[in-house]
């Protein structure tokens, strides 16, 4: 991602220089353009962390290279499909559809109303267009695209590994198999079996899929160039769905013990339950906070890592704006911290995938209850 940013700025500078030499007589216009392109780190960072309708490769403004992705909308039950480059980076409308520009519609597609309901063309600055947000938007955004790529990647990896196991049973692992097998064994032996005991086989497919999905997307998120770079596991929708699935799996596999622990918690004084059901209330909230925390933890960790990384890169340009010399002087420090953060992110990519899987496994294990209690406490202590 950051590499792409560097390219962005390289292109920008190159572009600026070219303009300067070519249009030496139009100095005022250039100065004005430069004035407009004041670097603002906040929106710049957020822009790179959130989802978007096109996959930005390099460059900025009109010169940027962006892979257009399909926009798919259901407008009053009518499917609408077109490529995102029709928006011209949010400056144009297409058949009455445009990128939201107001505070509450930013980053979403809006439908213009009234005279503009079929308008195609440039949107004038400062003009008030009546609009409403398109609710049923299932566009292939950058994150959806990254999701599909990662799904294809994971499927290819594990089907080929499975093929290897099928065709060469009981042989020394090699290639891709040797790469993923230690991870599979680690998750099985350290996460699934201690948490779930004899129910391991039933939940192993979900937990393994979960781990590898999060891990691979975390790793792809660190890669700054095309197939990587989308902040998928740092998106609240993605982590939310994963947490929601864990929540449903937990709830539907829960046994009698689980609900008894919630509504009649053992080992707690009676006055915490009657007449005011304090403990049951806390425990009931706990049912929902657990997946909520799962969602927030993964989202926050990955997004925070990206934000910090981007902030270090932004530093170069912030200082560079004051004086190019300071910018150059700051860059080694920034790059050093950038690399350091990159390594941290590698660690975080694994740890967060591991933690999400471990907690999911433990929640499911707790919900099933039964006799694996001792094993679980051992894991918690460890």
């Amino acid at each position: 991602m950051v590499c792409a940013l560097l390219m962005v700025f390289a292109c920008q500078n190159g572009f600026a220089q070219a303009t300067e030499t070519a249009e030496a007589d139009n100095v005022e216009a250039v100065a004005e353009a430069a004035q407009e392109e004041v670097f603002d780190a906040g929106p710049f960072i957020i822009e790179h962390v959130i989802d978007s309708y096109g996959w930005h490769i390099c460059g900025s403004g009109e010169k940027s290279v962006t892979i257009p992705l399909p926009v798919i909308l259901f407008d009053e039950g009518r499917p609408v499909v077109f490529l995102s480059n029709k928006f011209h980076h949010g400056e144009a409308a297409y058949n009455g559809y445009a990128m939201g520009w107001e505070e509450n519609t930013k980053g979403r597609i809006v439908k213009l109303e009234g005279n503009y309901s079929d308008y195609t063309g440039h949107l004038e600055e400062g003009e008030a267009y009546a609009n409403h947000v398109c609710k049923w938007d299932i566009s292939i955004t950058k994150n959806v695209c990254a999701l599909l790529i990662s799904i294809i990647l994971i499927t290819c990896i594990f089907l080929s590994v499975a093929k290897r196991y099928r065709e060469h049973p009981d042989e020394v692992p090699s290639g891709l198999q040797a790469l993923v097998e230690p991870l599979i064994v680690f998750i099985q032996d350290e996460v699934i079996t201690p948490s779930l005991g004899k129910n391991s086989n039933k939940y192993a497919p979900y937990l393994l899929t979960l781990f590898f999905f999060i891990f691979l997307n975390n790793m792809l998120g660190i890669v700054p160039i095309f197939p990587g770079g989308a902040n998928l596991t740092g998106n609240i929708a993605v982590t939310g769905i994963l947490a929601l699935i864990t929540f449903f799996v937990t709830t539907f596999s829960s046994g009698k013990e689980y609900w008894k622990d919630i509504f009649n918690t053992p080992g707690v004084p009676w006055w915490l339950k009657v007449p005011l059901p304090l403990m049951p209330l806390v425990e009931t909230i706990g049912i929902f906070t657990k997946p909520f925390v799962l969602m927030v933890r993964l989202f926050a960790n990955i997004t925070a890592g990206h934000i910090i990384t981007l902030a270090f890169v932004s530093l170069i340009f912030i200082f560079g704006q004051m004086n190019p010399v300071i910018g150059w002087a700051v860059s080694p420090v920034s790059i050093f911290f950038y690399i350091f953060m990159g390594l941290m992110e590698l660690l975080v990519a694994f740890i967060q995938a591991f933690v999400f899987t471990l907690l999911s496994a433990m929640y499911i294990g707790m919900a099933i209850g039964e006799e694996e209690h001792e094993e679980k406490t051992a894991v918690v202590e460890a």
Partner: protein, 164 residues
């Protein structure tokens, strides 16, 4: 705020995508992989156990082999010792026998020599007697050629013979 606002599209695709991914992996990948690992683990464990068993067997075989070797050695030593004893005995016996035989031969030789000597002595005696007789005969014949001498002799003998 955009950062923490989940978008409908991503939720939609995430549900479908993750669902499909889970379905594919749960059906075509995880069972094969986990069973593959489990089966290999089992195979390795079995082989280790087998190796341990074989090692134990080897050790017992080795022990047995050593025992047999020791026994064989003992037996060989015993046999050798016995053979040596027998040969010594035979040698002794042979020696004894040989000496006895030589003794006997010496005895025989001695006897033969004695007989031969005696025979020679006897022969010599006989020869001497014969010679003596012959000489005596010749002497007597010479002495008794004439009548007077015979008579004188008879006379003498008669005189010697006292008929009383």
């Amino acid at each position: 705020m955009e950062l923490i606002k989940p978008s409908f599209g991503l939720i939609f695709w995430m549900l479908i995508g993750f669902g499909i991914l889970f379905f594919i992996l749960a059906k075509f990948a995880w069972p094969i992989i986990t069973n593959g690992i489990a089966s290999r683990n089992k195979k390795i464990a079995d082989q280790l156990e087998e190796a341990a068993k074989i090692h134990e067997e080897m050790q017992s075989l080795n022990k047995k082999h050593d025992e047999m070797m020791a026994q064989a050695k003992n037996e060989r030593d015993a046999l050798l010792a016995e053979a040596r004893k027998v040969s010594e005995e035979m040698y002794e016996k042979a020696k004894l026998k040989a000496s006895a035989e030589s003794q006997a031969m010496i005895e025989d030789a001695k006897k033969a020599i004695y007989f031969e000597k005696m025979k020679a002595i006897t022969d010599a005696k006989n020869a001497i007697a014969n010679f003596s007789i012959d000489i005596a005969q010749k002497v007597i014949t010479e002495e008794l050629k004439d009548r007077e001498k015979q008579e004188a002799l008879v006379e003498k003998w008669l005189e010697d013979c006292h008929f009383n």
